[in-house]
């Protein structure tokens, strides 16, 4: 069948799954007084439509920052304003100042779900399709399968269309940035990434790879000539993009400082709730929060984060390649997720989307990672009543990936891109012969463990003495998985050299 009809079917399938998940429950449904993220988004529409821009980020009598104050950069606020404008045309009650707090109704839910659906359709989905079409050295069937697997990734669908958020906008913009960079349109790529950054500040997780890759490119072109020109052009683009987004706030230094204070709440502590992060997992054994002071916590987390991503970034600057760039996006974001300050479990999406980009290179490991990332958000999904959607989408995703990429046959060291690593280790370890089998067993073990734990979290009541047993187990197990993945990705990047790639081309 022709390429366009296969891709159309893929997109329609993805849209159907998204809308069907939308019919389910959302975050904070029917739970006064604070409700959840759904109410937060509605409240932001109310604030941005009714109040002047100077009051959006400030604590005033009309704008109580303790009730879901704006804590995303200006582009989110502008997006909320546009949605509020449309909401006003349909039913002004939805965004009436003060009186619309906790407003919940079927038509309103339909409207909110439609905004997410449209944002997804306009930004994220086209990016994925263009990306898959631009993949080199792959057959049409592989391109369509990659698109299908990426679009069916359960984590993003469940968070955006279930829990209710707009991650697809910022992730889509970052994806456009990667796309433009792959075509060597550096300025457009930088602009797109700046827009993504101005939509959600968590995109900072991806900023280092972008920076190192572009810097490496400039170095390669020679710092005395073309390189310097490129560097200044990129810098100019970045400054202009930021200026355009922050224009209304640039009138007053206090405005900018307040926004920054809302974006980076340093006084909120090392972690909140249960997240699959080193700090949360370590706190099971030692109560870090009690031992170290907040200042030291901040410094420690920054130090560890940067230490873990330093090797990759240096390699990327010295040898900028598109492949290295994509892998670096994964490992840097993962380092940030594991060691950084005030991380939310939803931030794993920032790691998952780059993993989706390399799904056709390492299908087995990518599928494994994406399953674990969805599993790590299970406590959040259970709280939102999305268990059925979670089960169905995860099973569907696993079967689609298994069928398209036949992942269970491709578990050798070469398929996992570990050939160079194994070559250097050959002298020391001799168990590499049964490597595929070991990897397959580990995968099955991991999936079974995740399945059992999911079932138990849903069906069984935890014992009285340990009420947080299941969320904590989910976090700790996911964290262990993520640590192993961090090691794996770093190994692949560091041992990947130009020689090995040319060897593959010859053979």
């Amino acid at each position: 069948m022709e390429k366009w009809s296969l891709m159309t079917i893929t997109v329609l399938l993805a849209l159907t799954v998204r809308w069907t998940v939308s019919l389910g429950s959302y975050s904070g449904a029917g739970k006064p007084p604070m409700y959840g993220d759904y109410e937060a988004q509605r409240h932001w529409q109310e604030v941005t439509y009714n109040l002047p821009i100077r009051q959006w980020y400030f604590n005033t009598s009309d704008n109580n920052l303790l009730y879901w104050g704006l804590d995303y950069p200006p582009l989110t606020a502008y997006h909320s304003f546009v949605c509020a404008y449309i909401a006003k045309l349909i039913n002004p009650d939805w965004i009436a100042l003060h009186t619309s707090r906790g407003y919940e109704s079927q038509p309103h839910k339909l409207f909110m779900r439609t905004t997410v659906f449209v944002a997804d359709l306009l930004v994220y989905i086209p990016a994925v399709i263009v990306y898959c079409f631009s993949l080199k050295e792959t057959s049409t069937k592989k391109k369509v399968s990659s698109a299908l697997c990426i679009l069916l990734y359960p984590g993003l669908i469940l968070i955006d269309h279930g829990h209710f958020q707009y991650n697809s906008v910022s992730l889509g913009l970052a994806l456009w940035g990667v796309l433009y960079l792959s075509y060597d349109w550096d300025l457009l790529g930088s602009a797109a990434f700046c827009l993504a950054l101005n939509y959600k500040q968590m995109e900072l997780y991806h900023s280092l790879p972008f920076f190192c890759y572009l810097l490496g490119k400039c170095f390669k072109k020679g710092l005395k000539g073309k390189g310097l020109v490129l560097l200044t052009k990129i810098a100019g683009t970045v400054v202009v993009s930021f200026a355009v987004c922050w224009l209304p706030f640039c009138t007053d230094m206090e405005q900018i400082m307040q926004v920054l204070r809302r974006l980076f709440p340093i006084d909120r502590g090392l972690f909140e709730d249960k997240v699959a992060n080193i700090w949360c997992s370590l706190s099971v054994l030692i109560k870090i929060k009690n031992i170290i002071s907040p200042q030291t916590q901040l410094k420690l987390s920054f130090a560890l984060t940067f230490l873990s991503l330093l090797p990759t970034c240096i390699k990327l600057t010295v040898q900028p390649s598109l492949r290295g760039f994509k892998f670096a996006l994964v490992s840097c974001a993962l380092s940030f997720f594991l060691f950084s300050f005030q991380v939310h479990e939803k931030s794993i999406l920032l790691v998952s989307i780059p993993v989706c980009l390399i799904i056709n290179e390492i299908p087995f490991m990518a599928t494994w990672f994406l399953l674990v990332s969805t599993f790590s958000m299970l406590p959040l999904l259970l709280k939102d009543g999305l268990l059925l959607a979670y089960a169905v989408t995860t099973l569907a995703f696993l079967s689609v990936c298994a069928a398209s990429f036949s992942i269970f046959e491709k578990t050798s060291a070469e398929d996992l891109q570990l050939k160079p690593f194994s070559l250097s280790l050959k002298g020391y370890v001799s168990w590499f012969k049964s490597f595929p089998k070991i990897v397959r067993c580990l995968f099955l073990l991991s999936v079974t463990l995740m399945g059992v734990l999911s079932l138990m979290s849903a069906a069984v009541h935890p014992p009285q003495r340990l009420p947080d047993l299941f969320p904590l187990s989910v976090s700790v197990i996911s964290c262990l998985h993520f640590l192993l993945f961090l090691v794996y990705f770093n190994v692949v990047i560091l041992w990947d050299s130009k020689n090995s790639r040319s060897q593959r081309k010859i053979s």
């Binding site: 009809s5 296969l6 159309t8 959607a389 169905v392």
Partner: protein, 505 residues
């Protein structure tokens, strides 16, 4: 496939109450009361085998939520109830999946394709398993059609595999599950008589009267009688047969179902209405003589036509009988094996859809599903299939009318349409295009029609005075298409037979 359906579980419709009521009736009451029970308006109107099926289900249901089995709990609903009923449909669909597998084995892949996506068997499997009409009727609307169509497709597959007795048995059982399949009984009857009871043909293909096999006839008769005895026996013994018959064939309902299935009578009614309005405007008719209740009120009652002659159940029966005669004669005089049987089956189903009494739009599936089997084998059939299936599925749209369901039905419809068009076009790539320009324009016009009916019309002031206009437009437009497809299929079958006969001579 089941995973996709699991996500639809949270919806609710009246069919839930209908089946909940039947579960309650068959669980609590003795057999003698089943067809007399009237506490709920949704009385038991399917044959006894279906009642036994509901009885069996009710024994599983009591573990989910015993309260659903109390007859007095009208409109009772709980999460467990909905979950049980949805899962029962998904579970019984296993039979449908098995039947599809058997059908795929009957389809010979003459065109050897390297890619599994282009094999006729794969395309057929997807067209049947992911049939849009079946999906929304069974899993969003809630019915057990998947399982019943599974029985029908299985009997067709058995007849194609020349296992006549099994096919006959399955069809007899199916008739006693849902009597609507009586529409296609002539095809079965004539085919079995012709190909099984007369075991051989002459050299030129005509009937060899001497090859009549008494044994085969007796076996067939025995099967039919046995199944009927098993099903209706208890009621005959109790003397309740007339009551059962009156429940199964409720002629008190009007000529047209609430939503006007796109058949000949829809065109007839529309013509009647148009002539009425024309007559009123030109003062040919007396306004006082016209009955207030109009056909398009959307209620299930007996109505009268004002200008054209009224239609009785007998008239529709005669029309149906006349319309299926040519195809049945074709099957008798020049059977072409299983393919001829399938053609006759589709024509019987489509003809009875066109002229039947109180036909529901869902009945179009009775023609579409067997036609899928023909569509992957010949380009001509594929063209008719694409036309009929798109129109038939579009006519099912009014069944889902709530705003949350709008994107789902459009997305699923687009999915199925894009897939069927692209797969069949790629299968018959080397032949002429499957649809001519007139048909293509007709299908494209469905898009503006849909936009008008669903989006523009509700926002206009006419909605309050003429709420039936979208339904009227949809029915009439689809009826034109269905009539065209029916005629085209008839013509292609008849001309095929005539040319075969000419070749033989």
């Amino acid at each position: 496939r089941a995973k996709g359906k699991c996500l639809y579980i949270v919806n609710y419709s009246t069919d839930f109450e209908v089946h909940r009521n039947w579960l309650a009736i068959t669980h609590n009451l003795p057999i003698s009361q089943w067809y007399y029970e009237e506490t709920s308006e949704w009385t038991l109107d399917y044959p006894p085998f279906f009642a036994w099926f509901e009885c069996a289900l009710s024994h599983v249901a009591k573990y989910f939520d015993p309260k659903m089995l109390v007859i007095e709990n009208l409109n009772y609903t709980s999460r467990a109830t909905i979950l049980f009923q949805r899962f029962s449909v998904i579970f019984t669909d296993i039979l449908f999946v098995y039947a599809v597998r058997e059908c795929c084995r009957c389809v010979n892949g003459k065109r050897a394709a390297k890619d599994v996506l282009e094999k006729p068997t794969f395309i057929l499997a997807v067209l049947l398993l992911w049939n849009f009409g079946l999906l929304i009727v069974d899993h969003i609307h809630f019915q057990y059609n998947g399982f019943l169509f599974g029985l029908m497709l299985l009997s067709v597959a058995r007849l194609c595999q020349k296992r006549y007795l099994e096919g006959a048995l399955l069809f007899a059982v199916l008739l006693h599950f849902k009597h609507i399949y009586i529409y296609v009984a002539p095809a079965y009857g004539i085919y079995l008589l012709r190909s099984y009871c007369f075991t051989a043909n002459n050299a030129d293909g005509s009937l060899k009267w001497r090859s009549f096999s008494m044994l085969h006839v007796t076996l067939l008769g025995l099967i039919v009688c046995l199944v009927s005895a098993l099903s209706l026996g208890p009621f005959i013994v109790l003397g309740q047969l007339p009551q059962v018959i009156s429940r199964l064939f409720p002629f008190k309902r009007g000529l047209c179902h609430a939503y006007w299935a796109p058949n000949f009578w829809a065109l007839y009614n529309a013509m009647d209405k148009a002539l009425t309005i024309f007559g009123l405007k030109c003062n040919f008719l007396d306004p006082t003589k016209i009955p207030k209740a109009s056909m398009t009120g959307g209620l299930v009652q007996e109505f009268q036509h004002t200008v054209l002659p009224g239609v009785t159940p007998l008239a529709t029966l005669i029309c149906t009988f006349i319309s299926i005669l040519p195809s049945v004669f074709c099957l008798w005089f020049k059977p072409q094996g299983p393919r001829g049987f399938l053609q006759c089956l589709v024509l019987c189903a489509l003809s009875s859809f066109m002229f039947g009494w109180h036909v529901h739009e869902k009945a179009i599936l009775l023609a579409i599903l067997p036609l899928s089997l023909l569509s992957v084998q010949r380009a001509k059939d594929a063209g008719i299939y694409l036309l009929l299936t798109t129109i038939g599925h579009f006519s099912l749209f009014p069944l889902l009318f709530t705003p949350p369901e709008l994107p789902i039905k459009i997305l699923l419809m687009l999915l199925f349409t894009v897939y069927s068009f692209s797969s069949l076009n790629s299968l018959f790539r080397r032949e002429r295009p499957l649809l001519n320009w007139l048909e293509t324009i007709y299908l494209i016009q469905l898009v503006p029609l849909e936009i008008f009916c669903e989006i523009i019309f509700p926002l206009t002031p006419w909605k309050r005075h003429f709420p039936f206009v979208p339904l009227l437009l949809t029915s009439v437009y689809c009826a034109l298409g269905v009539t065209y497809a029916w005629l085209k299929l008839y013509v292609s079958v008849l001309t095929e037979r005539i040319s075969v006969r000419q070749k033989a001579e």
